[in-house]
Amino acid sequence: SDSTTGGSSGKDGEKGVVNIGYSGPLSGAAAFYGERTLNGLKMAAEEINDEGGFEVNGKTYTINLVPLDDKYLPNETASNAKRLVQEHKTPIIFTPHSGGVLALQVFNEVDNFIIGAYTSEPSVTEGGNKLTVQIPPKYDGYVEPFTNYAMDRFGKKIAALPTSSQYGKDWTETLLTYWKKQGGEVVYESSINFAKDTDFFTVITNALKKKPDVLFIGGASEPTAKVAKQARELGFKGGFIVMDQAKLNEMEKITGSYEVLEGAVGVLPLIYSKAPGVPSFKEKYNAKYKEDPGSEAGIHYIGLHAFIEAMKAAGTVDDPKKIYEHVQDGLDAIPEERKTYLVPKITEAGSFDYELHFGVVEDGEVKEMEAK
Amino acid sequence: MYLETKQLTKKFGGLVAVNNVDFSIEKGKINAIIGPNGAGKSTFFNLISGFHPPTFGQVIFKGTDITTLPANQIAKLGISRTFQTTNLFEQATVLDNVMVGHRLRTESNLFDAIFRTKRLQREDKQCRDKAMEVLTFVGLQNITHKMITNISQEEKKRVAFALALATDPEIIFLDEPAAGVNPDETEGLAELMQKMVDYGLTVCLIEHKMQMVMKLAQKIMVLNYGEKIAEGTPDEIKNNEAVIKAYLGGSAIA
């Protein structure tokens, strides 16, 4: 039905459709996460379509988003991608999990499509794949400011209780290495599987017995907040370093107030960000999905805009290699009011390079700090 | 001695199902075991055929001690049995049921199966021929392709016989072979048992149908509460006080 276009040699006034692919968990345990990532794409696509589309080489294109469910399984991601490329000729496929990205990297250069990789897994760019764009910020940037802040304010003993995902583990390793380098001490280290643990009390009890000054926690916002809350219940008085996956504002909904989170340092929630595109994005998102947008949505939103701008700059909608070459131009061309994040450049390896801001909870409210 | 048990004993928890039983089975004859329900007759069979390990005592077959052998090994030695509740492969045809019965006399393995070796083909035919042979012997050559679920009780009994015979046994143990068949059919089954003996097999059966037992058996053992209370020829048993009291019932047989 939706025949895709091709052709960069369109005539003036002609209309076309660009299919944008998406494969993520839309059913099963991780579905809510998949949906939020997809929401960001939908917002961007609708914005552009509502304006009547975008113009490349004199031809006007609208965006048709084709989302497929992969249940978080890499082999399903691969089948989906084959389908997207073969049946919908999608030049770009977004995938919000590292397994899926890695499975796609097996053939994306041959089958010729860009992966919009929403994962901070370093190996997706380290492998030298020529058509992968890593869209979220790298966590390394947070390590130094978080450490400095928490150490100055609370002390040198840290206990780590992050989520047991690979991301959590990598984060922990980077953070703890730096922490020790700064003269800190790691008194306890373990991880929690939020989807499978029935009770966090046990592990928190064990961690607190080691009298840490700072707790490193993280994962999805809600369970992370539970961990913080239960640590307070068990008498913990120190500060928290919150891994970037969790958002302070979402955590506050669980804990009931920022008081519980006093002294927490984490990424600045999108809604508190001073980036120019945030207010309007937040408003639209609120209206549409009845909740505050998180970074998954915000990053996908700006990600899609960046690619569309790149298409304009490249003068093609169906040559992924060319589009890829023009991502930097795309980033430069994103209108101010759409900048939910400030992404000045894309690195040599293909990662978006963000201007980082972070937030701390002081006296019951979130304050913005700038990472140097 | 052909097959004998020495002080054979089986306890289930506190219950002594078989208690110190010495019994010998005579070759080429029909031996019978009788006794009230729960006397331990089936358990006695189970001990001989290796289904339950005895708590105490021995089973000796042709001079070798087979007490601790597993059931399948005992079957290979030529000891075969049927079950009280007719136990067949319900979802298969008569022929299929009986064909596997000869499996223990074949050697072919996975390799033969995968490569369809000569040996497999030969043995497959061998099993089929054997099945046809024993089915003919029990008189079922005409219903080989019927499903077990669709045949009569008496036919099932015959299939059970055939299955036991397909293992090429020397001695065959039948647990209540005539239970659940009418007098007429019982007659037929009795003839069949006689035919087995004529054919050179040794038969040992458990039966409640006294008329049949008394007519067929050459040697009878009576069990009661796990203990052997009598042993002898039908005439001896019929007139044994203890047996009349425990099993036959004074007035019933008189």
């Binding site: 839309l26 059913s27 099963g28 949906e35 989302p67 497929l68 469910d69 249940k71 978080y72 399984l73 890499p74 082999n75 691969a78 089948s79 084959k82 073969q86 049946e87 590292s98 397994g99 890695l102 499975a103 990297q105 097996v106 897994e121 690979q166 | 289904f51 059931a71 399948n72 090994q73 079957a75 290979k76 075969s80 049995r81 136990n87 067949l88 492969f89 319900e90 979802q91 298969a92 299929d96 064909m99 596997v100 019965g101 499996r103 223990l104 074949t106 072919s108 393995n109 996975l110 033969d112 199966a113 995968i114 369809r116 497999l120 043995e123 497959d124 080989t144 392709h145 397909a166 293992t167």
Partner: protein
Amino acid sequence: MTSIFNKRNSIIFFVLLSLIFPAVVPNDYFLYLMTTAFIWVIAVSGLNILAGYTGYLSLAHAGFFAIGAYSLGLLTVKVEMNYWIAFVLTLGITSLSGLLVGLIALRTKEHFFAIYTLCVGYIIYLVIDKWEGLTGGVRGLIGIPTPANIGSLAFDSVHSQYYLVLFFMLLSLLIIYRIVHSLTGRTFIAIRNSEQLATTIGVSTMKNKLLAFVLSTFFAGMSGALYASVIRFIGPEIAYTSVMFDLLMYLLVGGIGTISGPIVGAIVIVWVSQQLQFLQEYRMLIFGPLLTLIIIFYPRGIVGAFISLKTRAQAKKRKVPIVNESLTPTQKQIEEG
């Protein structure tokens, strides 16, 4: 005599169809999907030997599938072994692990066996997930090579991989067909029907159950190895219970205890669930009840339903059940039961 022609014809038809399939489909996606479906067919057929023919439902099968995938992955990526040597070794490793597990697991029966193996499967998953040093943990294993060339045959394209997997699937089916229709197969079926009776007729049930178990893990391993080399990335989730549930679903919807059941089940479900993509988040809402209904109304799966339809039609036509000389009763029973 017509039925044998039907049967032979349908086999020939299936093989021919699968051979020309790449030529008739519009694009690689179909081919790719079919390739993955074939991979599942191998695993499910293996499971069928155990659950369908021997009567023991193992819920550790996804675990053995994962052992196969990881063995191949680790041998090729970390040990950098020649692909085909690794492939053969993988089959050995999975069979061996099947042997070890089987020795203990097969002492239990029925629900105990099912839940015991469920736990074994979960332990396999946890080990893969936690043993980062070896398996890469949650991150998974990347860079698994495509099957190495055999002479001038290369396996780096979707087409060639399709044919490679097809080859292994047909080979597996042939082997399984032959096993099931041999005396060994009869022995398995005897155990399924009555373990007690099987013992009395001289069958060593433990030995045969173990053989069935090892065979089933052998095919799980083969399937896992092919999965690893086609997808070329594996993570611990392939050992998870949801994959196990998928395998069971393929088996039951297709028709347990039939050779063609796994083929029909895997292909139909893989396609249907792709076709239901448009339902997105409603997908499982439809799929779940559908599965339950199939189980209730077609307990013998699609193949079972088809067979009873056929026999009924035949019985109507001829009034009496036909006895087919060339089709042995076992074959009939196997296909039907």
